[in-house]
Symmetry: C2
Subunit: 236 residues, 2 copies
DNA sequence: ATGGCAGAATTGTCGGACAGTCAGATTATC
DNA sequence: GATAATCTGACTGTCCGACAATTCTGCCAT
């Protein structure tokens, strides 16, 4: 069954260093907002060359554990933002040739749940974000790209209003995957805009009135509608 | 409202290079399995120093777009594996101090859906994977860590059997988050083992017989049970 | 084909270097 | 005294050159 010997993988120095720093961050020895020591200093501490430190830092930077504000020189410990992390997942999924059906099933699982909790917990500010995205969709009559972006923002706003970071982070990668399909949909299915607009209104209404079950139901219908539109459009 | 000028962010060379290579990969100019040119060669092509190339490469390596097999020297284009990508998401969530309730709600959204599709589409091999994880859970009577790992594997196996990569990739990050809670649960709630075991049997049975709705329902009950156990244990 | 081997190629790491820039201290100006 | 201009030091981004260890490759013998 299991092998007698495990393949020994020697971790290069830059990886070990990255792991060590990451651990300090995860265990909060280095706290969010703290400035990282300078590269030269780190090189001294770890007893390696600065080039090696830089390679290690690149890893953490990609993970979103380190970052720097606009025009800031020193690196600081940051909390990985959903967008940053989820873009990696999106790309991964894109490379795996995800089908629309797969995406749709995942949306069916996540978005209604998000809507339901959003109705239960949304703050006024979050509600405002929702209506704003919806308004933007209505006004983007000619610009397809703008309309698509507005739809994505709507979903994002719902997820944010759910007050659930896990759901929000699970939802985020779906957005990017949705873009290509949605673009075609809006472009080629005439009634798509009206239907989306109507659905968003219903959903917002339910969330506004804190009717969880209604919010979930409307969102389900909304997502189902996507599939219908897709099937309408694809055979053509 | 909006500023007249946008802050110009100069992308350092290593980032631009990373982006260019990434684009070649995403658009499939560089195809999965292809070997990347040597660092020296890349340095020549981009007209930069090898150190700069190396920093760029580190980024792509972290993203899982580049990798090398055991004992291989040259880097090859790889497809980002779910485990690799999801670990980043998990860490991000951990740093955001996710509550058990958040995790639980996400599980409630994703796992039943995965079970449902697994019942519809599982292959014999996937079914075997499920039973194997379940068996391992039964046999790990004393070892808590082993039992926890078996539970995680069970969820992973269900997600894999769903035949939906998006769901699988959405589910993966939940596993790591589940570990700490689950460990306590199994350790401190006496009846936990028996209940988990029973639930897994029911779920496997439903998936085996391709009864989607049943699979979903049993999974829902299973997840609900976690919350009950958690609430039982936490006030203590 | 298979196995073994020398040489070429490649990676990991190192040391040092330099221009550009950001932050803080210092000085000049109103 | 408050503000603006200037200086200084530290730090990052990038480059060059170098070397040991390991992998890859083509060639030879079996």
């Amino acid at each position: 069954m299991s092998d007698l010997f495990a393949p020994l993988d020697d971790h290069p120095a830059y990886r070990q260093i990255a792991n060590q720093i990451e651990q300090r961050i995860v265990e909060r020895t280095l706290r969010t907002g703290d400035a990282l020591p300078s590269e030269t200093d780190l090189a001294r501490q770890f007893g390696v060359n600065r080039s090696t430190i830089r390679e290690a830092i690149r890893e953490l930077e990609v993970h979103g554990l380190l970052g720097r504000g606009r025009g800031e020189k020193r690196l600081r410990v940051t909390r990985p933002e959903p967008r940053r992390v989820s873009s990696g997942v999106s790309r991964a999924l894109a490379l795996h040739d995800v089908t629309f059906l797969e995406l749709w099933e995942a949306m069916m699982a996540i978005e209604p749940a998000a809507a339901q909790y959003a109705a239960a917990r949304r703050t006024p500010a979050q509600l405002l974000g929702l209506t704003r995205a919806s308004t933007r969709f209505k006004s983007d009559i000619t610009d397809t790209a703008g309309a698509v972006a507005a739809v994505v923002d709507f979903f994002t706003a719902v997820a944010a209003a759910s007050g659930n970071q896990v759901l929000a982070l699970s939802q985020a990668p779906l957005n990017l995957l949705l873009v290509p399909t949605l673009t075609q949909l809006i472009d080629r299915v005439p009634q798509a805009r009206a239907r989306i607009q109507a659905a968003q209104s219903k959903i917002i209404g339910a969330i506004k009135q804190k009717k969880s079950e209604q919010a979930r139901t409307w969102m389900e219908k909304h997502i189902r509608d996507f599939k219908r539109g897709y099937e309408l459009e694809v055979p053509a």
